[in-house]
């Protein structure tokens, strides 16, 4: 039984807008095969349980982990499906290992957004009594949040566009990202309005892909890799459901989730103690809002931080050096990809987009529209960890 849990391996498919050559099981297996090979593990001998992340409605199959039981090593074995953002698989996997029930866990998140329609899927998240018939989806809901946030703190469209410019530029050096390039603020502001103030370039694009990860207790992790990435803090929290019950510019749930993770990890000053952040900016304004919710700066202050260069890849606290979600990561996979990218930074394996001297990294994911549920993971590297 382990007092500590680490990420021992990470694998991602190369994200693409559309993978017509593979169904979701084959896609998932690409990542699983990679991570098992990388770590020198087999399902039968090494993996105690599997935790997978996806949604029936995205997969188009009822109880959709039926579709990946075989590739995820679930046959006659323990496999469970989180129907939430992929970051929660890390959270739940860590809990399982810390409980003593498991020593080594395979995590998987997968989605093929190309096989269905995101607006219709998103709309189904709205309750059938009051809000579904309004035709809301995640983008229009996010537009409400963006407008509220920008109004409250006087944030301009140029400032949110700055997030896009930074992240798509970072994505150029990320071998798995597909949405990338050197763009200007003008490019972003001349892309089509989707739901004002959100423009096409402000949105994480439709993507197909999968991420697989190995979690292990201390002894097992040290047996697998010289660079175990310790999960030193985890936190989740739910906010209220109805948009009207919340002030969408507030980050109650993110703040609490972060606080739980920080207190476990011994972080009292995230700005100083964290070396790199990979967060879930499904829409560009969210990078600013979530940074504030994470306590990296005061509410309303993230735009200035961005403009000062603080969060650039060569800045004092790089945010989304991978290109973030704007670089192209599928729904459900988003948070697991965030943790994977943060882990790669700690391992020193973030090919092309490595930040120097990373000891402590933070990853954040969210579920439900306008970030109703948040999950925060703190990672620590080095032989001793914390």
């Amino acid at each position: 039984m382990s007092e500590r849990v680490a990420i021992a391996g990470v694998a991602q498919t190369v994200f693409k807008p559309k993978r017509v050559d593979a169904n979701y099981a084959e896609l998932a297996y690409e990542a699983i095969e990679q991570v098992l090979d990388q770590c020198g593990l087999t399902i039968q001998d090494d993996i105690d349980n599997s935790i997978t992340c996806s949604h029936d409605i995205w997969d188009g199959q009822t109880i959709s982990n039926i579709g990946i039981t075989d590739v995820a090593g679930g046959h006659l074995r323990n496999e469970e499906k989180m129907a939430m953002d992929g970051s929660t698989a890390v959270y739940y996997g860590a809990v399982g290992i810390l409980s003593g029930a498991f020593e080594c866990t395979l995590l998987l998140a997968h989605t093929k957004m190309s096989q269905t329609d995101r607006n219709i899927v998103n709309n189904d998240a709205f309750d059938p009594i009051y809000t579904r018939k309004l035709g809301l989806d995640y983008t229009s809901a996010a537009a409400l949040q963006a407008r509220r946030y920008m109004h409250r703190y006087g944030i301009s469209p140029e400032q949110t566009a700055g997030v896009v410019v930074k992240n798509l530029g970072n994505a150029v050096d990320n071998p798995v990202a597909h949405n990338r390039g050197v763009f200007s603020v003008e490019d972003v502001l001349s892309s089509a309005v989707v739901a004002d103030p959100i423009r096409r370039m402000d949105m994480a694009p439709d993507t197909d892909g999968a991420v697989a990860m190995i979690l292990a207790g201390e002894d097992k992790a040290r047996g697998i890799t010289d660079t175990p990435v310790w999960i030193t803090g985890i936190g989740t929290c739910y906010d209220a459901y109805y948009l009207g019950d919340r002030d969408l510019s507030e980050c109650m749930a993110l703040g609490r989730a972060a606080q739980r993770a920080y207190s476990m990890a011994g972080i009292t000053n995230p700005r100083d103690q964290i070396d790199v952040i990979e967060l879930g900016e499904e829409f560009s304004y969210q990078e600013l809002l979530w940074l504030e919710g994470l306590g990296v700066c005061e509410p309303g202050g993230a735009a200035a931080l961005l403009e000062s260069g603080f969060t650039r890849r060569d800045g004092a606290l790089p945010v989304n050096p991978s290109g973030g979600l704007l670089g192209g990561v599928p729904a459900n996979v988003m948070g697991l990809n965030r943790v994977a990218e943060a882990a790669l930074q700690v391992m020193g394996r973030a090919d092309g987009h490595q930040v120097g001297g990373v000891k402590t990294a933070l990853a954040q994911g969210h579920s439900g529209f306008c970030g109703q549920h948040h999950c925060v993971i703190v990672l620590q590297g080095g032989k001793e960890g914390r």
């Binding site: 039984m1 349980n49 949604h55 029936d56 409605i57 188009g60 199959q61 009822t62 109880i63 982990n65 039926i66 579709g67 039981t69 075989d70 679930g74 046959h75 006659l76 074995r77 323990n78 496999e79 469970e80 499906k81 989180m82 129907a83 939430m84 929660t88 959270y91 739940y92 809990v95 399982g96 810390l98 409980s99 003593g100 029930a101 899927v121 998103n122 189904d124 998240a125 309750d127 059938p128 009594i129 985890i234 936190g235 989740t236 929290c237 739910y238 906010d239 209220a240 459901y241 109650m252 749930a253 609490r256 989730a257 739980r260 476990m264 579920s367 439900g368 529209f369 109703q372 549920h373």
Partner: protein, 389 residues
């Protein structure tokens, strides 16, 4: 596991064909309030809220988000897991890990289904692969009918045996104030009910129920401080099964299958040599009568082909030596997302001596709960009254 885990409270709704009086948020809230009342706790004392559900069944993506208020999850940590019919038990397993990890002392686990607010049949047909099998899907009824013909051909069981299981379940349910189908039926009534898929008749299958169940788990110290009758979760085991090979319907198969594999692992963990000696009561997840007889065999309660004799000889009656499903089982109440949790909760009630009209006579020290779902998946849970037992 690192810390011991107890069930310190629980509750359920009165399961019914129709719950037009509540929406889904209110439905789960009923079960949550019942559990808090039973545990004599307030929601503020709950550290985390875990929900089990299958989103397609009620046509709502992100159910945990919508239900957050009714669950008491606002401002709290929590998660949602979706594994089909086993999810009610998977969530208890998740809760047990949360408590055992040392990070949480009290965990609220909730499972529910508002069956009437979704087209269960259409959604179940979505279980089949879209490109292989969905166009020819035979539904759950077809599957258990094949199990039945296989069973009868292999062991010489007759339709009367299925009827006996149907009668036991619904007569037990009459003593369970929460059960959905409380039916005063005879074997003849079961044999006269409408044929669905030979030999499965209407009364051989489970209903579609609206209902919710909630259980509260806690660590040993909290259980000792606050709970007069904690019920300990001693072991749990999960086994899933690949999608295209559903071998349970061929009762003579020699392949390792989910039910036997999981039971073997659980028994090894606990040192069980004879489940009939070890467990005092069984709450088994039986979507159809024939599945109950097969479960007897797969759990090692009897040898292969002897399951139907157990029911014939009354061995598993409420006042028999090895009571199975005193609650009425899934045959009497099936709110899918709650059903597996209800098996655990009902087993806990038996251990506590709090099952009221359907309490089995005699001392109940240890109980076994099974789950069923997906493409032949299970979660087995062993509970006991005393930690050192």
């Amino acid at each position: 596991m690192k810390r011991n885990v107890a069930v310190i409270g629980g509750g359920q709704t009165r399961h019914a064909a129709r719950r037009h009086d509540v929406n889904q948020v209110e439905l789960v809230n009923e079960a949550v309030r019942a559990a808090l009342l039973d545990a004599r706790m307030t929601i503020d004392e709950i550290d985390t809220v875990l929900l089990g559900n299958m989103e397609f069944f009620e046509g709502c993506h992100m159910t945990d988000c919508w239900l957050a208020d009714g669950l008491g999850a606002y401002g709290k940590p929590g998660l949602k897991i979706t594994t089909g019919g086993t999810v009610g038990a998977t969530i208890v397993s998740a809760g047990a890990h949360h408590v055992a990890s040392g990070l949480f002392d009290t965990v609220l686990c909730v499972g529910f289904e508002k069956q009437e607010e979704g087209d269960t049949g259409a959604i179940l047909s979505g279980v089949a692969h879209p490109l292989y099998g969905r166009s020819m899907a035979g539904a759950a009824v077809g599957y258990f009918a094949m199990m039945a013909t296989s069973y009868m051909a292999a062991w010489g069981a007759r339709e009367e045996h299925s009827a006996m299981v149907a009668v036991k379940a619904r007569q037990n349910a009459r003593k369970n104030e929460y059960a959905h189908l409380k039916l005063d039926i005879t074997v003849q009534d079961a044999l006269n009910s409408r044929m669905l898929a030979y030999p499965i008749r209407m009364l051989d299958m489970c209903p579609a129920s609206n209902g919710a169940c909630a259980v509260i788990l806690a660590d040993e110290k909290t259980a000792g401080d606050r709970c007069e009758k904690p019920v300990w979760i001693r072991a749990m085991d999960t086994a899933h099964n690949e999608q295209f090979e559903l071998d349970w319907r061929d009762v003579t198969t020699r392949k390792p299958i989910f039910s036997k594999t999981s039971a073997a692992r659980l028994y090894r963990q606990l040192g069980v040599s004879n489940p009939l000696d070890y467990f005092d009561v069984f709450e088994i997840y039986e979507p159809a009568t024939w599945a109950e007889m097969v479960w007897y065999e797969d759990l090692g309660m009897c040898g292969p082909g002897e399951g139907f004799r157990m029911i014939e000889e009354g061995k598993t009656a409420m006042d028999g030596p090895h009571p199975v499903n005193p609650s009425g089982g899934v045959l009497s109440t099936n709110c899918i997302g709650a059903s597996a949790m209800l098996r655990i909760w009902e087993a806990a009630l038996q251990i506590r001596g709090d099952a009221g009209g359907h309490q089995v006579p005699g001392d109940v020290r240890r109980a076994l709960a099974t789950a069923y779902g997906g493409t032949n998946w299970t979660v087995l849970t062993a509970l006991s009254r005393d930690l050192d037992d």
